[in-house]
């Protein structure tokens, strides 16, 4: 089998103004993942490397750049699965962590559980030595603008056709 890392940067009504930044990011992530896969031979290392790049990129709705809930907060989620033995780990309602995908991998590898959420995930991240990041550092202006527009227009979260970020989906 030819080694391959395939990535996506999210589905939605992405406006023309955001097309190039999305393409730049997915190409960079795919390239880095492929490099890691060829170097380590490990599919988990490869996909984590690719996703971490996208979590660090403000143009993506994950990690830095995540959209906001009604309280103006970020609540992130991630899932990782391994096909060899059907192992999996996931996290939900996560805050203060730069790379939720890495936390999900630790849930898979270091706990007897499959899914951790909210306060428990936070405590586990601390226990694993994952650096605490202030939530303010994840929140970008376009996410604030999107929430403002959402509230002003009482939008349905499933609608996709309005504005830049309000249509960004999970």
């Amino acid at each position: 089998v030819k080694p391959l890392v395939l990535v996506h940067g999210g589905a939605g009504d992405i406006p023309e103004s955001r097309v190039q930044m999305k393409l730049d990011c997915v190409c960079k992530a795919a390239s880095e993942g492929y490099k890691v896969l060829n170097k380590t031979g490990c599919v988990l290392d490869a996909i984590v490397a690719a996703v971490e790049i996208m979590e660090d990129d403000e143009s993506m709705n994950a990690g830095k750049g995540s959209v906001l809930n009604l309280d103006g907060e970020i609540e992130m989620e991630a899932l990782i699965c391994e096909g060899r033995n059907l192992n999996a780990g996931s996290v939900t309602l996560v805050q203060n962590v730069a790379h939720p995908i890495t936390l999900a991998r630790l849930v898979m590898e270091k706990t007897p559980h499959t899914m951790l959420g909210a306060e428990g995930a936070k405590r586990f991240a601390e226990k694993m030595g994952i650096p605490y990041v202030q939530n303010d550092q994840f929140i970008i202006q376009s996410a604030k603008d999107a929430l403002k527009e959402f509230k002003e227009h009482k939008l349905d979260p499933s609608r996709t056709e309005i504005g830049e970020r309000p249509g960004e989906k999970g």
């Binding site: 395939l6 996506h8 996931s90 939900t92 989906k169």
Partner: protein
């Protein structure tokens, strides 16, 4: 949402998905991303999937699991990804996208939304796109 799936030289597969969710969600809302069979799945006997789109619809339809089931029933990675994304939109409404790899490394990319950015590298070429049916190649 972002996602990555990979296959190695021995056919081992893995899937990862990460998201900030959806603008204006209620505090405590959980989407499809962290749920097995919804936000993603990987099984060396079939393939690997990562999904994106309207989380509540993806959950109700079990999109990732359905794509792998379709592949297990003989569809290619591309056929399964297309038929299941379209099936979800037809059955429960709203849009979704997915990337899929089969155990032999075949690629599937499809979305019922307006756009979805995707990419993979093969040798010294990066294959990528964002609009429906678009498949661009860049030398690296």
């Amino acid at each position: 949402t972002v996602g990555a799936i990979a296959v190695d030289i021995s056919g081992h597969l893995a899937s990862a998905t990460s998201t900030g969710g959806i603008t204006g969600k209620m505090k405590g809302r959980i989407g499809d991303t962290p749920l097995l069979g919804c936000g993603g799945y990987a099984d060396d006997d079939i393939g690997a999937v990562s999904t994106t789109g309207h989380g509540e619809s993806i959950m109700r339809y079990n999109l990732a699991q359905r794509i792998l089931s379709a592949m297990n029933n003989g569809q290619s990675a591309q056929e399964a990804t297309k038929s299941c994304c379209e099936g979800m939109t037809a059955r429960v409404g709203n849009s979704a996208g997915a990337i899929t790899l089969s155990k032999d490394g075949s690629v599937g990319v499809f979305f019922t939304s307006k756009r979805m950015a995707w990419a993979y590298q093969l040798g010294n070429e990066i294959h990528y796109g964002i609009d429906a049916g678009q498949h661009l190649i860049m030398k690296v």
